[in-house]
Protein backbone atom coordinates (compact mmCIF):
# COMPACT_ATOMS: atom_id res chain seq x y z
CA UNK A 1 0.00 0.00 0.00
CA UNK A 2 1.23 3.53 -0.68
CA UNK A 3 1.62 5.88 2.24
CA UNK A 4 -0.95 8.13 0.60
CA UNK A 5 -3.53 5.35 0.64
CA UNK A 6 -2.61 4.24 4.16
CA UNK A 7 -3.03 7.76 5.56
CA UNK A 8 -6.23 8.32 3.57
CA UNK A 9 -7.72 5.14 4.92
CA UNK A 10 -6.48 5.13 8.52
CA UNK A 11 -5.95 8.75 9.64
CA UNK A 12 -9.12 10.80 10.03
CA UNK A 13 -9.86 14.37 11.11
CA UNK A 14 -10.18 14.52 14.89
CA UNK A 15 -8.19 11.32 15.50
CA UNK A 16 -5.77 10.71 18.33
CA UNK A 17 -2.57 10.12 16.34
CA UNK A 18 0.81 8.78 17.44
CA UNK A 19 3.97 8.90 15.35
CA UNK A 20 6.47 7.45 17.80
CA UNK A 21 10.23 6.79 17.77
CA UNK A 22 12.66 8.26 20.29
CA UNK A 23 15.03 10.26 18.03
CA UNK A 24 15.33 7.01 16.01
CA UNK A 25 12.82 5.87 13.35
CA UNK A 26 10.49 8.87 13.41
CA UNK A 27 8.19 8.63 10.40
CA UNK A 28 8.61 12.07 8.88
CA UNK A 29 7.20 10.63 5.65
CA UNK A 30 3.88 9.88 7.37
CA UNK A 31 3.80 13.28 9.09
CA UNK A 32 4.33 14.99 5.75
CA UNK A 33 1.61 12.91 4.11
CA UNK A 34 -0.82 13.87 6.90
CA UNK A 35 0.06 17.53 6.28
CA UNK A 36 -0.45 17.10 2.53
CA UNK A 37 -3.84 15.51 3.09
CA UNK A 38 -4.70 18.50 5.35
CA UNK A 39 -5.96 16.53 8.32
CA UNK A 40 -7.41 18.76 11.02
CA UNK A 41 -8.18 18.70 14.76
CA UNK A 42 -5.75 15.90 15.48
CA UNK A 43 -4.66 15.12 19.02
CA UNK A 44 -0.95 14.49 18.51
CA UNK A 45 0.76 12.33 21.14
CA UNK A 46 4.48 11.68 21.45
CA UNK A 47 7.07 11.81 24.22
CA UNK A 48 9.17 14.24 22.19
CA UNK A 49 7.16 16.21 19.62
CA UNK A 50 10.42 16.78 17.72
CA UNK A 51 10.50 18.53 14.37
CA UNK A 52 7.74 16.41 12.88
CA UNK A 53 5.03 17.64 15.27
CA UNK A 54 6.45 21.17 15.06
CA UNK A 55 5.79 20.96 11.32
CA UNK A 56 2.33 19.45 11.81
CA UNK A 57 1.45 22.14 14.36
CA UNK A 58 2.66 24.82 11.95
CA UNK A 59 0.60 23.27 9.16
CA UNK A 60 -2.56 23.47 11.25
CA UNK A 61 -3.15 19.74 11.75
CA UNK A 62 -3.13 19.78 15.55
CA UNK A 63 -5.83 20.70 18.02
CA UNK A 64 -4.02 19.29 21.02
CA UNK A 65 -0.57 18.04 21.98
CA UNK A 66 0.07 15.30 24.55
CA UNK A 67 3.79 15.15 25.34
CA UNK A 68 6.64 15.11 27.83
CA UNK A 69 9.52 17.04 26.23
CA UNK A 70 8.96 19.59 23.52
CA UNK A 71 12.34 20.74 22.30
CA UNK A 72 14.65 20.45 19.31
CA UNK A 73 17.00 17.76 20.68
CA UNK A 74 20.54 19.03 20.96
CA UNK A 75 19.55 22.41 19.50
CA UNK A 76 16.96 24.33 21.50
CA UNK A 77 13.33 25.28 21.13
CA UNK A 78 10.58 24.09 18.82
CA UNK A 79 9.43 27.46 17.57
CA UNK A 80 6.06 26.57 16.03
CA UNK A 81 5.20 24.73 19.22
CA UNK A 82 6.32 27.67 21.32
CA UNK A 83 4.32 30.18 19.31
CA UNK A 84 1.23 28.02 19.68
CA UNK A 85 1.83 27.27 23.37
CA UNK A 86 2.69 30.85 24.33
CA UNK A 87 -0.17 32.17 22.20
CA UNK A 88 -2.63 29.74 23.76
CA UNK A 89 -3.77 28.34 20.40
CA UNK A 90 -2.80 24.75 21.13
CA UNK A 91 -4.25 22.64 23.91
CA UNK A 92 -1.51 20.99 25.97
CA UNK A 93 -1.55 17.85 28.11
CA UNK A 94 1.81 17.37 29.71
CA UNK A 95 3.55 14.51 31.52
CA UNK A 96 7.13 13.50 32.19
CA UNK A 97 8.73 10.82 29.99
CA UNK A 98 7.96 8.13 32.53
CA UNK A 99 4.35 9.31 32.65
CA UNK A 100 4.02 9.04 28.86
CA UNK A 101 5.75 5.65 28.82
CA UNK A 102 3.33 4.51 31.53
CA UNK A 103 0.33 5.79 29.55
CA UNK A 104 1.41 3.73 26.54
CA UNK A 105 2.17 0.72 28.76
CA UNK A 106 -1.33 0.85 30.22
CA UNK A 107 -2.84 1.25 26.78
CA UNK A 108 -0.86 -1.68 25.42
CA UNK A 109 -1.93 -3.89 28.32
CA UNK A 110 -5.56 -2.62 28.02
CA UNK A 111 -5.54 -1.57 31.63
CA UNK A 112 -7.30 1.72 32.44
CA UNK A 113 -4.29 3.11 34.33
CA UNK A 114 -0.65 2.50 35.24
CA UNK A 115 1.00 3.01 38.63
CA UNK A 116 4.36 4.68 39.02
CA UNK A 117 6.43 6.18 41.80
CA UNK A 118 6.67 9.69 40.46
CA UNK A 119 5.64 13.36 40.76
CA UNK A 120 6.06 13.72 44.55
CA UNK A 121 7.20 17.30 45.10
CA UNK A 122 6.77 18.38 41.47
CA UNK A 123 4.20 20.85 40.12
CA UNK A 124 3.37 18.60 37.16
CA UNK A 125 0.15 17.13 38.65
CA UNK A 126 -1.08 20.68 39.35
CA UNK A 127 -0.66 21.43 35.66
CA UNK A 128 -2.31 18.14 34.69
CA UNK A 129 -5.26 16.90 36.73
CA UNK A 130 -5.24 13.58 34.85
CA UNK A 131 -2.30 12.57 37.03
CA UNK A 132 -3.95 10.99 40.04
CA UNK A 133 -2.99 8.48 42.69
CA UNK A 134 -3.86 5.07 44.05
CA UNK A 135 -3.19 3.42 47.39
CA UNK A 136 -1.22 0.17 47.44
CA UNK A 137 -3.44 -2.53 48.95
CA UNK A 138 -0.39 -4.12 50.60
CA UNK A 139 1.72 -1.27 51.94
CA UNK A 140 -0.71 1.65 52.07
CA UNK A 141 1.74 3.71 50.01
CA UNK A 142 0.25 6.33 47.69
CA UNK A 143 1.49 5.91 44.13
CA UNK A 144 0.98 8.21 41.17
CA UNK A 145 -1.21 7.02 38.31
CA UNK A 146 -1.67 8.05 34.71
CA UNK A 147 -4.58 7.03 32.49
CA UNK A 148 -4.13 4.63 29.58
CA UNK A 149 -3.45 6.13 26.17
CA UNK A 150 -5.19 4.25 23.36
CA UNK A 151 -4.62 6.14 20.12
CA UNK A 152 -6.88 5.81 17.11
CA UNK A 153 -3.83 5.26 14.95
CA UNK A 154 -0.13 4.72 15.55
CA UNK A 155 2.46 5.00 12.81
CA UNK A 156 5.71 3.12 13.38
CA UNK A 157 8.77 3.44 11.19
CA UNK A 158 10.92 0.29 11.18
CA UNK A 159 13.92 -1.18 9.46
CA UNK A 160 12.06 -4.12 7.94
CA UNK A 161 8.82 -6.07 7.83
CA UNK A 162 7.35 -8.91 5.81
CA UNK A 163 4.31 -8.34 3.59
CA UNK A 164 1.94 -9.36 6.41
CA UNK A 165 3.44 -6.76 8.78
CA UNK A 166 5.69 -8.77 11.08
CA UNK A 167 8.06 -5.96 11.94
CA UNK A 168 11.66 -5.98 13.14
CA UNK A 169 13.51 -3.11 14.75
CA UNK A 170 16.99 -2.83 16.23
CA UNK A 171 18.83 0.04 17.84
CA UNK A 172 16.73 2.32 20.03
CA UNK A 173 13.28 0.85 20.63
CA UNK A 174 11.59 3.80 22.32
CA UNK A 175 7.95 2.98 23.07
CA UNK A 176 7.18 1.71 19.57
CA UNK A 177 5.94 -1.67 20.77
CA UNK A 178 3.71 -0.23 23.49
CA UNK A 179 2.29 2.46 21.20
CA UNK A 180 1.45 -0.10 18.51
CA UNK A 181 -0.25 -2.52 20.90
CA UNK A 182 -2.16 0.36 22.51
CA UNK A 183 -3.55 1.55 19.21
CA UNK A 184 -6.81 0.80 17.40
CA UNK A 185 -5.07 0.91 14.02
CA UNK A 186 -1.37 0.49 13.18
CA UNK A 187 0.51 1.62 10.09
CA UNK A 188 4.02 0.24 9.70
CA UNK A 189 6.40 2.12 7.40
CA UNK A 190 9.60 0.28 6.55
CA UNK A 191 12.93 0.85 4.92
CA UNK A 192 12.80 -2.61 3.38
CA UNK A 193 10.16 -5.22 2.71
CA UNK A 194 11.64 -8.65 3.35
CA UNK A 195 10.46 -12.18 2.86
CA UNK A 196 8.71 -13.90 5.76
CA UNK A 197 11.68 -16.29 5.93
CA UNK A 198 13.96 -13.39 6.94
CA UNK A 199 11.66 -12.58 9.85
CA UNK A 200 11.38 -16.25 10.80
CA UNK A 201 15.17 -16.64 10.78
CA UNK A 202 15.52 -14.29 13.80
CA UNK A 203 12.19 -14.16 15.68
CA UNK A 204 13.62 -12.41 18.78
CA UNK A 205 14.02 -9.23 16.69
CA UNK A 206 10.32 -9.00 15.91
CA UNK A 207 8.79 -6.13 17.86
CA UNK A 208 5.35 -5.93 16.27
CA UNK A 209 3.38 -8.93 14.99
CA UNK A 210 1.32 -8.82 11.81
CA UNK A 211 -1.86 -9.56 13.73
CA UNK A 212 -1.99 -5.98 15.05
CA UNK A 213 -0.89 -4.25 11.82
CA UNK A 214 -3.41 -2.67 9.42
CA UNK A 215 -1.11 -1.41 6.68
CA UNK A 216 2.48 -2.00 5.60
CA UNK A 217 4.15 0.74 3.55
CA UNK A 218 7.60 0.65 1.97
CA UNK A 219 9.27 4.03 2.18
CA UNK A 220 13.07 4.12 2.01
CA UNK A 221 14.50 7.17 3.81
CA UNK A 222 11.05 7.69 5.28
CA UNK A 223 12.51 8.74 8.63
CA UNK A 224 14.82 11.52 7.39
CA UNK A 225 15.94 13.84 9.11
CA UNK A 226 15.52 11.26 11.88
CA UNK A 227 17.50 8.09 11.26
CA UNK A 228 17.34 4.33 10.82
CA UNK A 229 20.17 2.41 12.47
CA UNK A 230 22.06 0.47 9.82
CA UNK A 231 20.45 2.47 7.00
CA UNK A 232 21.25 6.17 7.44
CA UNK A 233 22.48 8.61 10.05
CA UNK A 234 20.54 11.35 11.78
CA UNK A 235 20.71 14.58 9.80
CA UNK A 236 21.98 16.83 12.57
CA UNK A 237 22.57 19.64 10.13
CA UNK A 238 18.87 19.73 9.36
CA UNK A 239 17.95 19.76 13.05
CA UNK A 240 20.23 22.77 13.49
CA UNK A 241 18.88 24.42 10.34
CA UNK A 242 15.29 23.95 11.55
CA UNK A 243 15.99 26.42 14.34
CA UNK A 244 16.45 29.15 11.74
CA UNK A 245 13.71 27.92 9.39
CA UNK A 246 11.09 27.77 12.10
CA UNK A 247 11.88 30.99 13.94
CA UNK A 248 9.37 32.87 11.88
CA UNK A 249 6.15 31.59 10.38
CA UNK A 250 6.94 32.76 6.87
CA UNK A 251 10.17 30.86 6.40
CA UNK A 252 8.52 27.85 7.96
CA UNK A 253 5.67 28.12 5.45
CA UNK A 254 8.19 28.33 2.63
CA UNK A 255 9.78 25.13 3.89
CA UNK A 256 6.41 23.36 3.95
CA UNK A 257 5.59 24.63 0.47
CA UNK A 258 8.82 23.36 -0.95
CA UNK A 259 9.43 20.08 0.89
CA UNK A 260 5.96 18.93 1.92
CA UNK A 261 3.20 20.39 -0.25
CA UNK A 262 5.63 20.74 -3.15
CA UNK A 263 6.41 17.05 -3.48
CA UNK A 264 4.09 14.15 -4.14
CA UNK A 265 5.81 11.64 -1.91
CA UNK A 266 9.03 10.69 -0.20
CA UNK A 267 10.69 9.61 -3.42
CA UNK A 268 10.26 13.12 -4.81
CA UNK A 269 11.46 14.59 -1.49
CA UNK A 270 14.65 12.58 -1.84
CA UNK A 271 15.08 13.53 -5.51
CA UNK A 272 15.08 17.19 -4.48
CA UNK A 273 18.04 16.52 -2.18
CA UNK A 274 20.36 14.25 -4.16
CA UNK A 275 23.23 14.79 -1.70
CA UNK A 276 21.36 13.36 1.29
CA UNK A 277 21.86 9.72 0.50
CA UNK A 278 25.61 10.14 0.07
CA UNK A 279 26.05 12.28 3.13
CA UNK A 280 24.04 10.14 5.53
CA UNK A 281 24.20 6.55 4.29
CA UNK A 282 25.24 4.20 7.08
CA UNK A 283 28.54 2.39 7.04
CA UNK A 284 28.51 -1.38 7.49
CA UNK A 285 28.84 -2.58 11.04
CA UNK A 286 27.16 -5.98 10.97
CA UNK A 287 26.88 -8.16 14.03
CA UNK A 288 27.27 -11.92 13.78
CA UNK A 289 24.15 -14.07 13.79
CA UNK A 290 23.22 -16.48 16.56
CA UNK A 291 22.24 -20.12 16.37
CA UNK A 292 18.51 -20.84 16.64
CA UNK A 293 19.03 -24.58 16.07
CA UNK A 294 18.04 -27.36 18.45
Amino acid sequence: MSLRDAVARHVHDGDVVVIEGFTHLISFAAGHEIIRQRRRDLTLCRLTPDLIYDQMIAAGCAKKLVFSWAGNPGVGSLHAFRRAAEGGTLELEEYSHFGMVARFSAGAARLPFWSLRDYAGTDIPQANPRIKSVTCPYTGEALATVPALNPDVTIVHAQRADPQGNTQIWGLLGVQKEAAFASRRVIVVVEELVDETVIRSDPNRTLIPASIVDAVVIEPWGAHPSYAQGYYDRDNDFYVAWDGISRDGQSLDRFLDEFVYGVRDRAEYMQKQPDLADRLKARARFCAGVNYGF
Partner: protein, 231 residues
Protein backbone atom coordinates in the same frame (compact mmCIF):
# COMPACT_ATOMS: atom_id res chain seq x y z
CA UNK B 1 32.46 23.39 35.07
CA UNK B 2 32.60 20.24 32.93
CA UNK B 3 35.83 19.16 34.57
CA UNK B 4 34.41 19.63 38.07
CA UNK B 5 31.34 17.65 37.06
CA UNK B 6 33.51 14.83 35.71
CA UNK B 7 35.34 14.63 39.00
CA UNK B 8 32.00 14.01 40.74
CA UNK B 9 31.95 10.54 39.23
CA UNK B 10 33.56 7.48 40.78
CA UNK B 11 34.83 4.60 38.68
CA UNK B 12 32.27 1.87 38.09
CA UNK B 13 29.24 3.99 38.90
CA UNK B 14 26.03 3.81 36.91
CA UNK B 15 25.24 7.27 35.63
CA UNK B 16 22.11 8.58 33.98
CA UNK B 17 23.33 11.02 31.38
CA UNK B 18 21.62 13.96 29.78
CA UNK B 19 22.87 15.62 26.64
CA UNK B 20 25.22 18.60 26.53
CA UNK B 21 27.62 19.30 29.37
CA UNK B 22 26.64 16.24 31.47
CA UNK B 23 27.41 14.03 28.50
CA UNK B 24 30.75 15.74 28.01
CA UNK B 25 31.55 15.43 31.72
CA UNK B 26 30.77 11.71 31.72
CA UNK B 27 32.85 11.03 28.66
CA UNK B 28 35.71 13.02 30.18
CA UNK B 29 35.50 10.96 33.38
CA UNK B 30 35.47 7.74 31.32
CA UNK B 31 38.71 8.78 29.63
CA UNK B 32 40.43 9.84 32.83
CA UNK B 33 39.78 8.42 36.31
CA UNK B 34 36.62 6.36 35.71
CA UNK B 35 37.08 4.00 32.73
CA UNK B 36 34.36 1.64 34.02
CA UNK B 37 31.66 4.24 34.33
CA UNK B 38 28.38 2.84 32.96
CA UNK B 39 26.56 5.53 31.02
CA UNK B 40 22.80 5.10 30.68
CA UNK B 41 20.79 7.37 28.42
CA UNK B 42 17.02 7.72 28.68
CA UNK B 43 16.83 6.63 25.05
CA UNK B 44 17.68 3.08 26.20
CA UNK B 45 21.41 2.88 25.47
CA UNK B 46 23.27 1.29 28.38
CA UNK B 47 27.05 1.25 28.64
CA UNK B 48 27.43 3.42 25.57
CA UNK B 49 30.89 3.97 24.16
CA UNK B 50 30.27 6.60 21.50
CA UNK B 51 32.88 7.03 18.79
CA UNK B 52 31.82 10.64 18.26
CA UNK B 53 30.30 13.22 20.59
CA UNK B 54 26.59 12.43 20.50
CA UNK B 55 24.52 15.40 19.46
CA UNK B 56 21.35 14.05 21.02
CA UNK B 57 20.63 11.42 23.65
CA UNK B 58 19.16 9.32 20.86
CA UNK B 59 22.24 9.53 18.65
CA UNK B 60 23.02 6.31 16.72
CA UNK B 61 26.59 6.50 18.03
CA UNK B 62 25.22 5.69 21.49
CA UNK B 63 23.81 2.41 20.19
CA UNK B 64 26.68 1.10 18.09
CA UNK B 65 29.03 -0.74 20.41
CA UNK B 66 26.96 -0.23 23.57
CA UNK B 67 26.47 -3.01 26.11
CA UNK B 68 22.68 -3.09 26.00
CA UNK B 69 19.80 -1.39 24.30
CA UNK B 70 16.40 -1.64 25.93
CA UNK B 71 13.00 -0.05 25.53
CA UNK B 72 12.10 3.09 27.44
CA UNK B 73 9.68 1.24 29.72
CA UNK B 74 12.70 -0.69 30.98
CA UNK B 75 14.79 2.46 31.36
CA UNK B 76 12.23 4.07 33.64
CA UNK B 77 10.93 1.00 35.48
CA UNK B 78 13.90 -1.40 35.71
CA UNK B 79 16.73 1.10 35.98
CA UNK B 80 15.44 4.38 37.40
CA UNK B 81 12.44 3.44 39.56
CA UNK B 82 14.29 0.28 40.59
CA UNK B 83 16.98 2.44 42.17
CA UNK B 84 19.77 1.11 39.95
CA UNK B 85 21.02 4.59 38.98
CA UNK B 86 23.72 5.91 41.26
CA UNK B 87 24.18 9.37 39.79
CA UNK B 88 21.79 11.51 37.77
CA UNK B 89 22.90 14.72 36.07
CA UNK B 90 20.41 17.52 35.54
CA UNK B 91 20.47 21.00 34.14
CA UNK B 92 17.70 23.56 34.09
CA UNK B 93 16.57 27.03 33.17
CA UNK B 94 16.01 27.82 36.85
CA UNK B 95 17.44 26.35 40.05
CA UNK B 96 16.15 27.70 43.37
CA UNK B 97 17.26 28.05 46.99
CA UNK B 98 16.22 24.44 47.73
CA UNK B 99 17.70 23.02 44.52
CA UNK B 100 14.32 22.62 42.86
CA UNK B 101 14.65 22.77 39.09
CA UNK B 102 12.38 24.32 36.51
CA UNK B 103 12.49 23.21 32.87
CA UNK B 104 8.80 23.78 32.17
CA UNK B 105 7.76 27.44 31.99
CA UNK B 106 8.91 30.93 32.86
CA UNK B 107 5.89 32.81 34.15
CA UNK B 108 2.53 31.16 34.77
CA UNK B 109 1.79 27.68 33.47
CA UNK B 110 -1.37 28.71 31.65
CA UNK B 111 0.09 31.80 29.97
CA UNK B 112 3.85 31.41 30.04
CA UNK B 113 6.32 34.14 29.16
CA UNK B 114 8.67 31.45 27.91
CA UNK B 115 7.50 27.95 27.20
CA UNK B 116 10.42 25.59 27.95
CA UNK B 117 10.58 21.95 26.75
CA UNK B 118 9.16 20.41 29.96
CA UNK B 119 10.30 17.53 32.10
CA UNK B 120 11.40 14.81 29.75
CA UNK B 121 12.90 12.37 32.23
CA UNK B 122 14.04 15.10 34.63
CA UNK B 123 11.22 14.61 37.17
CA UNK B 124 11.97 10.94 37.65
CA UNK B 125 15.75 11.34 37.53
CA UNK B 126 15.42 13.80 40.41
CA UNK B 127 13.20 11.38 42.34
CA UNK B 128 15.06 8.11 41.72
CA UNK B 129 18.78 8.65 41.14
CA UNK B 130 20.61 7.96 44.38
CA UNK B 131 22.60 11.17 43.99
CA UNK B 132 21.60 14.11 41.82
CA UNK B 133 24.15 16.58 40.48
CA UNK B 134 23.05 19.82 38.84
CA UNK B 135 25.13 21.70 36.29
CA UNK B 136 24.09 25.30 35.68
CA UNK B 137 25.60 28.70 35.02
CA UNK B 138 25.14 31.31 37.72
CA UNK B 139 22.92 34.35 37.19
CA UNK B 140 20.17 35.88 39.29
CA UNK B 141 17.62 34.85 36.61
CA UNK B 142 18.84 31.26 36.59
CA UNK B 143 19.04 31.05 40.39
CA UNK B 144 15.85 32.70 41.72
CA UNK B 145 14.75 32.27 45.32
CA UNK B 146 11.79 30.23 44.09
CA UNK B 147 11.39 28.59 40.68
CA UNK B 148 8.25 29.47 38.70
CA UNK B 149 7.44 25.76 38.35
CA UNK B 150 8.95 22.75 40.13
CA UNK B 151 9.73 20.25 37.37
CA UNK B 152 12.26 18.29 39.45
CA UNK B 153 12.30 18.47 43.24
CA UNK B 154 15.62 19.18 44.94
CA UNK B 155 15.44 16.54 47.66
CA UNK B 156 18.16 14.23 46.27
CA UNK B 157 20.47 16.94 44.98
CA UNK B 158 23.95 16.51 46.43
CA UNK B 159 25.78 19.22 44.57
CA UNK B 160 25.20 22.13 42.20
CA UNK B 161 28.15 22.73 39.93
CA UNK B 162 28.22 26.23 38.48
CA UNK B 163 30.68 28.15 36.33
CA UNK B 164 32.19 29.85 39.41
CA UNK B 165 31.87 27.52 42.35
CA UNK B 166 29.98 24.69 43.96
CA UNK B 167 26.81 24.84 46.07
CA UNK B 168 25.58 22.06 48.34
CA UNK B 169 22.36 21.64 50.30
CA UNK B 170 22.56 22.13 54.05
CA UNK B 171 21.44 18.54 54.69
CA UNK B 172 18.94 16.63 52.50
CA UNK B 173 16.36 19.00 51.08
CA UNK B 174 18.09 21.90 52.82
CA UNK B 175 18.98 25.34 51.55
CA UNK B 176 21.84 25.57 49.04
CA UNK B 177 25.08 26.87 50.52
CA UNK B 178 28.34 27.88 48.91
CA UNK B 179 30.94 25.21 49.63
CA UNK B 180 33.72 25.61 47.06
CA UNK B 181 35.20 28.29 44.86
CA UNK B 182 36.99 27.97 41.54
CA UNK B 183 40.49 29.41 41.44
CA UNK B 184 40.45 33.20 41.25
CA UNK B 185 36.75 33.54 42.02
CA UNK B 186 35.61 35.75 44.90
CA UNK B 187 32.77 34.79 47.22
CA UNK B 188 30.96 37.98 46.20
CA UNK B 189 31.05 36.93 42.52
CA UNK B 190 28.96 33.96 43.43
CA UNK B 191 26.62 35.79 45.78
CA UNK B 192 25.89 38.18 42.91
CA UNK B 193 24.86 35.26 40.68
CA UNK B 194 22.16 34.02 43.00
CA UNK B 195 18.75 35.58 43.64
CA UNK B 196 18.72 35.13 47.37
CA UNK B 197 20.96 35.86 50.35
CA UNK B 198 23.45 33.01 49.78
CA UNK B 199 24.97 31.51 52.90
CA UNK B 200 28.38 29.87 52.87
CA UNK B 201 30.09 27.07 54.71
CA UNK B 202 32.47 28.44 57.38
CA UNK B 203 35.48 27.10 55.47
CA UNK B 204 35.29 27.14 51.69
CA UNK B 205 37.15 24.61 49.61
CA UNK B 206 39.12 25.72 46.62
CA UNK B 207 38.58 23.62 43.50
CA UNK B 208 41.71 22.44 41.71
CA UNK B 209 42.01 24.00 38.28
CA UNK B 210 41.56 21.75 35.24
CA UNK B 211 44.74 19.91 34.36
CA UNK B 212 46.30 20.37 31.00
CA UNK B 213 45.32 16.85 29.97
CA UNK B 214 41.70 17.35 31.04
CA UNK B 215 41.49 20.49 28.95
CA UNK B 216 43.19 18.87 26.02
CA UNK B 217 40.83 15.91 26.06
CA UNK B 218 37.82 18.17 26.19
CA UNK B 219 38.92 20.60 23.52
CA UNK B 220 40.73 18.35 21.10
CA UNK B 221 39.12 14.94 21.47
CA UNK B 222 35.67 15.13 23.00
CA UNK B 223 34.29 18.39 21.63
CA UNK B 224 36.61 19.65 18.93
CA UNK B 225 33.73 21.39 17.15
CA UNK B 226 32.80 23.20 20.37
CA UNK B 227 29.23 21.98 20.26
CA UNK B 228 28.90 22.34 24.01
CA UNK B 229 32.05 24.09 25.18
CA UNK B 230 31.56 27.75 24.65
CA UNK B 231 33.87 30.73 25.10
Amino acid sequence: MTVVAARELRDGEVVFVGIGLPNLACNLARRTHAPHLVLIYESGAVGAAPERLPVSIGDPALVTGSLMVCGMADVFQLFLQNGRIEVGFLGGAQVDRYANINTTVIGSYERPTVRLPGSGGAAEIALHAQRVVIIAKLSPRAFPERVDFVTSPGRRVKRVITDRGVLEPDGPGGELMLTALYPGVQQSDIEAGVGWQLRSRPTLECVDPPTRSELQLLREVLDPKRLYLKG
